[in-house]
């Protein structure tokens, strides 16, 4: 089997809201697949359909070769899910929740569990209520990562973690991939997806807008540059891929397509760079730039 998840033309409506509007998604076996989209794009809805918690109105979905709605119970023994907003039973300790979820999935690797608790610096004796958001997320992550499964479905798993724990998480995901597991990682943080994922699907308003490797998607990214130069800039406006240029004396601000970054920087260096800041674009900005016009055009 070469595809772990295959979704096409998925539609899901809640009353009048069309949460999924013909979504497509293909996740190959053994890859870390980034599932990227702004808040409210339909990432969680898609995941909940893939878990058989929601029933799609139309379209088809296959997970690990089975129907996520019909074969839910069998499939769930082979996957582990970390929800975006982990809610724990207030009177159960973290260790109890990890063991319970692991057992319900059909077994837990005890050594891996202890190792993960150590790495995530998590106290398993605390009650669900007393954990912070990040620690609740760690509980669900340890339970998922210590389970012996083929597929990990992670819905914005790092949203409460501090940078140190985020890097622990990234190491863990890489290890999982090295063991041959498939990971579907939903996120709205481009940087996280860039460091971890082999391939990416970008969705917006319930539709897949782009899918491919990160190299394929380079054309989507723009970097914001702001620099102070020795002399007024020369000829930057004429360069390919430069947008929204503002020049104030020796200061210059512009956005540049990431693949043209090299050319733009060279032009700056020619004028003598005194200071330089560059900012990767947020995903939301990206979407605004690339897709809002399309939307207006359609309506």
């Amino acid at each position: 089997m070469t595809t772990a998840i295959s979704v096409s033309g998925l539609v899901k409506t809640f009353g009048r809201t069309r949460a999924l509007d013909g979504l497509d998604l293909t996740v190959r076996t053994g890859e870390v697949h980034g599932f990227l989209g702004p808040n409210g794009a339909g990432k969680s809805t898609t995941i909940r359909v893939l878990l058989g918690l929601l029933r799609a109105d139309s379209g088809s979905a296959t997970v690990l070769g089975g129907d996520p709605w019909r074969d839910a119970t069998e499939l769930h023994r082979r996957l582990a899910y970390v929800p975006g907003d982990v809610s724990l039973w207030p009177n159960l300790s973290g260790g109890e929740v990890i063991d319970l979820l692991g057992r319900l999935r059909g077994g837990l690797d005890q050594r891996r569990r202890d190792e993960l608790l150590e790495r995530f610096d998590l106290d398993p004796r605390k009650k669900g209520r007393t954990y912070s958001k990040g620690n609740r997320q760690k509980v669900a992550l340890v339970a998922a990562l210590a389970s012996d499964v083929d597929l990990l479905v992670l819905d914005e798993p790092t949203s409460g973690l501090d940078p140190l724990m985020e890097s622990v998480f990234q190491d863990c995901v890489r290890e999982e991939r090295d063991r041959g597991r498939t990971v579907l990682l939903s996120s709205h943080i481009l940087a996280e997806v860039e460091t971890l994922c082999d391939r990416v699907s970008i969705i917006r308003a319930g539709k897949t807008v782009e899918t491919g490797t990160l190299a394929d998607l380079r054309h989507l990214t723009r970097t914001s540059i702001s620099a102070e130069l020795a002399t007024p800039p020369n000829g930057i406006a004429a360069l390919p891929g430069v947008h929204d240029l503002v020049v104030e004396g020796n200061r210059v601000k512009f956005d540049v397509d990431t693949r043209e970054l090299d050319v733009a920087l060279r032009a700056l260096v020619e004028s003598g760079v005194r200071s330089l800041t560059s900012q990767p674009p947020t995903l939301e900005e990206l979407f605004l730039r690339h897709y809002q016009d399309d939307q207006v055009g359609v309506r």
Binding site: L53, R77, P83, N91, G95, R103, R105
Partner: protein, 533 residues
């Protein structure tokens, strides 16, 4: 910033959130007595009928244990005060508890209060807002009751004594819930603690009212005060002031507690738990047991205590009737002293049936609260089927009431048997009478399961409505002269009474069980097909 800054916005928020449920509570509780006054004249048209009611029912402890003491049933006012006094007191107390907890501890429990607390909101604002909403609603209910009864032609002094003392009970339980909301971390246990106090108050009232030699016990219970004020008989309106005083005293405890704890924390601090799960926590049923065992244990202890107490006084019932010739005749018709004791025991097991239905719905609705808290999602994303998950909670709604009825029947039968010296017969008889309630309880639980399957968003409100309608029809339907077709809606009406003189038939038990079974199966089937969340 003073401690109560931000109270008004919170009151407005509470009113906005409760814009549907609050008017329902207020209207239902306030229109009942006024609108049924006319039934009295229809049911007891003649002076003789009134006198007979007064003599027979007024001195019958098996009636007083459920409805409270009857001081004078020869006037429509006295009859209404007896008929509705304890029931309205009970329900206004429940209303006050749920309302206060929802706007104080439940808000903290969910973390929403933290969001508000970071805005300009004083430390006492949430408690004050909850107290204002529940207290003002209680007073409004009291005034509306009084207005309704005055409108129905009853004396204004009696109407206001009754309305205000009922409001007073609401105020006392508003204050009690204000205290319990400070004690525990979870709204569930805050409600549990406050309803335990309510249960104790009910027990004291029932004991005092059915034991003339110890009637002072009733005064210990705020639930008894509306009837002890003797509306339309003596009009002891000062009882309202007693209630206000008690409410202020209890509420001041709540205000003392607030600064002694952190937001989100209770006074009872939580201890660390085990680092690994016990063997028993390996299945959905193990999880459900872990989540539900505390509640089941608490309920069992409560019904055992109640059963033992009621059972212990049952044997003395016959001697309490008084000695007027007329009463003796009525009692003879009911089967003599033994008949009276049986009627009393029958009323008691009926009460346990209704309490078990409350437990069953509470246990069954755990499915819904687990779903809305997204706990269900975590479990259902593992190798657990939906039926297994929902079934593991519904087991408590089905087996739990059996445990409660068995425990209460055994306790009452044992106590009564030991007192009457007829242990063998009384134990089996009382236990059988208690267990006969089970199919009716299952019907209520089954409907809750069905609602959960088809209409999850309305499952909570709908299930409690079913409980309330079933209980009220069985308790009050016959008295206000509703037709049999309406009464038949309540499953409790169909439970055969295990009394001498009536032939026992198992048929209703079988079809009640059948109805319950169909409802549960339909609920589970629809649950399997619907979206989660």
């Amino acid at each position: 910033m003073s401690g109560t800054t931000g109270t008004w916005p919170l009151v407005r928020l509470a009113l906005r959130r409760d814009r549907v449920i609050l008017p329902i509570w207020i209207v239902v509780l306030s229109v009942i007595p006024g609108s049924t006054v006319s039934a009295y004249e229809k049911l007891y048209p003649t002076v003789a009928a009134k006198a007979s009611l007064n003599a027979g029912t007024g001195s019958n402890p098996s009636v007083a244990v459920l409805y409270g003491p009857a001081f004078d049933l020869s006037t429509p006012g006295g009859w209404s005060a007896w008929r509705y006094g304890s029931f309205l007191a009970l329900f206004i107390a429940l209303f006050a508890i749920f309302t206060v907890t929802r706007h104080t501890r439940a808000e903290e429990d969910s973390g929403r209060l933290e969001l508000l607390g970071s805005a300009v909101v004083g430390r006492y604002a949430a408690l004050t807002a909850g107290v204002i909403v529940a207290g003002a609603s209680s007073l409004l209910i009291g005034v509306l009751i009084a207005a309704g009864m005055t409108g129905a032609g009853l004396p204004i002094a009696g109407a206001f004594t009754m309305g205000l003392t009922i409001a007073g009970t609401g105020l006392v339980f508003t204050a009690i819930a204000g205290v319990t909301a400070q004690l525990t971390e979870y709204s569930r246990s805050a409600n549990g603690l406050a309803t335990t106090v309510l249960g104790v108050a009910f027990l004291l009232r029932a004991l005092g009212d059915s034991t003339p030699s110890a009637s002072w016990v009733s005064w210990l219970s705020p639930l008894a005060w509306p009837q002890q004020a003797k509306p339309f008989v003596a009009d002891d309106w000062w009882v309202f002031l007693l209630a206000v005083g008690a409410a202020i005293a209890v509420a001041s405890i709540a205000y003392q507690l607030v600064p002694r704890r952190d937001i989100g924390a209770g006074l009872f601090a939580s201890r660390p738990g085990p680092a690994t799960a016990a063997k028993s926590l390996s299945s959905p049923l193990g999880l459900a047991w872990r989540l539900q065992r505390g509640s089941l244990l608490g309920w069992t202890v409560a019904v055992v205590v109640m059963g033992a107490m009621f059972g212990a006084i049952a044997d003395g019932i016959g001697g309490l009737v008084g000695d007027s010739e007329q009463v003796k005749q009525i009692m003879e018709r009911m089967g003599g002293t033994q008949g009276l004791v049986d009627a009393y025991l029958s009323a008691i097991v009926g009460l346990f049936g209704m309490l078990s239905a409350v437990y069953a719905v509470q246990a069954g609705l755990r499915t819904r609260s687990e779903e809305t808290a997204t706990h269900a999602e975590s479990v259902l994303a593992t190798g657990v089927s939906r039926i297994r998950w929902a079934g593991s909670h519904l087991v408590f709604a089905i087996v739990g009431p059996a445990v409660l009825l068995a425990a209460s029947g055994l306790a009452a039968g044992l106590a009564h048997g030991l007192r009457s010296g007829d242990l063998g017969h009384q134990l089996t008889h009382t236990l059988a009478a208690a267990m006969a309630q089970l199919p009716a309880v299952w019907v209520v639980a089954g409907i809750a399961a069905l609602l959960y399957g088809i209409w999850p968003a309305l499952a909570v409100a709908g299930s409690w409505t079913v409980v309330a309608v079933s209980v009220l029809l069985a308790l009050y339907g016959p008295v206000i002269g509703l037709t049999q077709a309406v009464l038949d809606v309540s499953p409790f009406v169909h439970v055969p009474k295990l009394q001498p003189g009536t032939t026992f038939t198992a048929t209703p038990l079988l079809w009640l069980t059948g109805v319950a079974l169909v409802a549960v199966v339909a609920g589970l089937t629809t649950f399997r097909r619907r979206d989660i969340g």
